[in-house]
Symmetry: C2
Subunit: 235 residues, 2 copies
DNA sequence: ACAATAGTGTCTGTGAGACAGTATCGA
DNA sequence: TCGATACTGTCTCACAGACACTATTGT
């Protein structure tokens, strides 16, 4: 908006900004990666009431002068030391009693990174962060803080779906990767084995060769590829 | 949570609920329907600053004691007189200056209904609501209130995508419908013509015959179908 | 009979699924 | 040479696309 008229200024002065209920707003972060042939998510173990001792998703409270995306980026930076990694907003959770301390609205964000990038930046703050195997956690009946079990289930479901029709899985491997490596990521996310030949045909249009090969393995070396950038994203 | 320990009660009493910034939270509603072979959305024309005279999406402020979904249902009820229609959360919008009066977080919800159901309940409140042709509105450069143009664009994109791989379009026709009618809805949403035979093969598994037929038209009558309920939803 | 719309049969091409084959490394 | 893994060729089958055909009403 450009200039404001006197009428508008008067309106703003008289405007009762307190007439509506107000909420604390948190951004909860689901940072996924692949480690040891498993899908893992970054979590923390709470050392305070409520849910003391339970696993929880890391999160930050949104400040009044930052956007939701900025809060998410800040949280990712604080937890992983990384900036510029892939992230997207997932869903907002607004149950009344989801936090026993006060009414907190949670906007969940999912971010993806390769384990290599995560390891490189593992610094002071990440010592309290844990990489938790998601499937076995969800299969167990371990208590998870707040409504974070449900959020985790939703995020896994979304991730699995998006893998089918987007190139989102590329964010879980390094810049340069081999096709057996990428295929393994797909298989872990989709929870089913894939045929080599079919997999390669499917993603042939999304990658380009680097010219480099794996070295030192006691078998045929594997080509390194990178993601082709000039393709328009479908979703 | 069941019983609370003394330690927990003490913690809650001492908890400074004011330590985090607080937001007004609104639910903005995108109620789509099909009328005159066009996709239309329910909007209102603002009679106050800001964006006086502009089209805006209807919305309600979330109350401190209701969930986001409840607020959405309440808003839908207020605007359309309808309850129990299909709705889903879309996305949360958190730009700092999206409302010049104060910091408002907007959680957008999409709801779908047939024009017939909407017409039946058009009462006192709906007189101020307008059914706006979405495509031509978005094609025009008319100023739309707040960030509602962007929200509308996002909702249209999501709707178009979901039509491809879900049965969401069924919510835009009455309980009982003919296949030419349903096909027209698909064509409007997808913005391209479809082949009769292929369309019918595609949705054959999702519908069941009612035994009734259209009457009175100067051509071959059309079968009425209804949605088959026993199919597991894909998304 | 004719106009108009509803509904069906079928050929084709594309792409996923399945599997068998070839290629290239270290030991 | 052999074990192991990388990579490729090709058959099949399901399904979407395209189009031509038949069916049934009111006038």
């Amino acid at each position: 908006m450009s200039e404001r008229t006197l009428e508008e200024k008067k309106y703003l002065e008289e405007y009762d900004a307190e007439q509506f209920d107000r909420f604390s707003v948190a951004v909860d972060l689901l940072t996924f990666t692949i480690e040891d042939d498993e899908l893992k998510v970054l979590m923390v173990r709470r050392d305070e009431f409520p849910f003391k001792g339970c696993l929880a998703l890391p999160g930050v409270f949104v400040r009044i002068d930052e956007t939701l995306d900025e809060a998410a980026q800040r949280g990712i930076q604080e937890e992983t030391g990384l900036s510029g990694i892939y992230y997207e907003q997932l869903y907002s959770w607004g149950e009344v009693d989801r936090d026993p301390r006060m009414r907190v609205l949670s906007v969940s964000y999912m971010s993806l990174t390769s384990r290599e990038a995560l390891a490189f930046h593992a610094g002071s703050r990440t010592q309290e962060a844990l990489l938790v195997p998601v499937r076995s956690l969800l299969a167990s009946d371990e208590t998870i803080a707040f409504d974070h079990r449900r959020i985790l289930e939703y995020a896994c479901w979304r991730l699995k779906n998006k893998v089918e029709y987007t190139d989102i899985a590329f964010h879980l491997v390094p810049e340069e990767f081999t096709l057996p490596e990428l295929q393994r990521v797909y298989e872990i996310l989709l929870e089913r084995p894939l045929y080599k030949a079919n997999f390669r045909k499917k993603i042939a249009g999304m990658i380009e060769e680097t010219g480099r090969y794996t070295e030192g393995d006691a078998h045929r070396p594997s080509r390194y590829y990178r993601r082709k950038r000039d393709i328009l994203q479908s979703f």
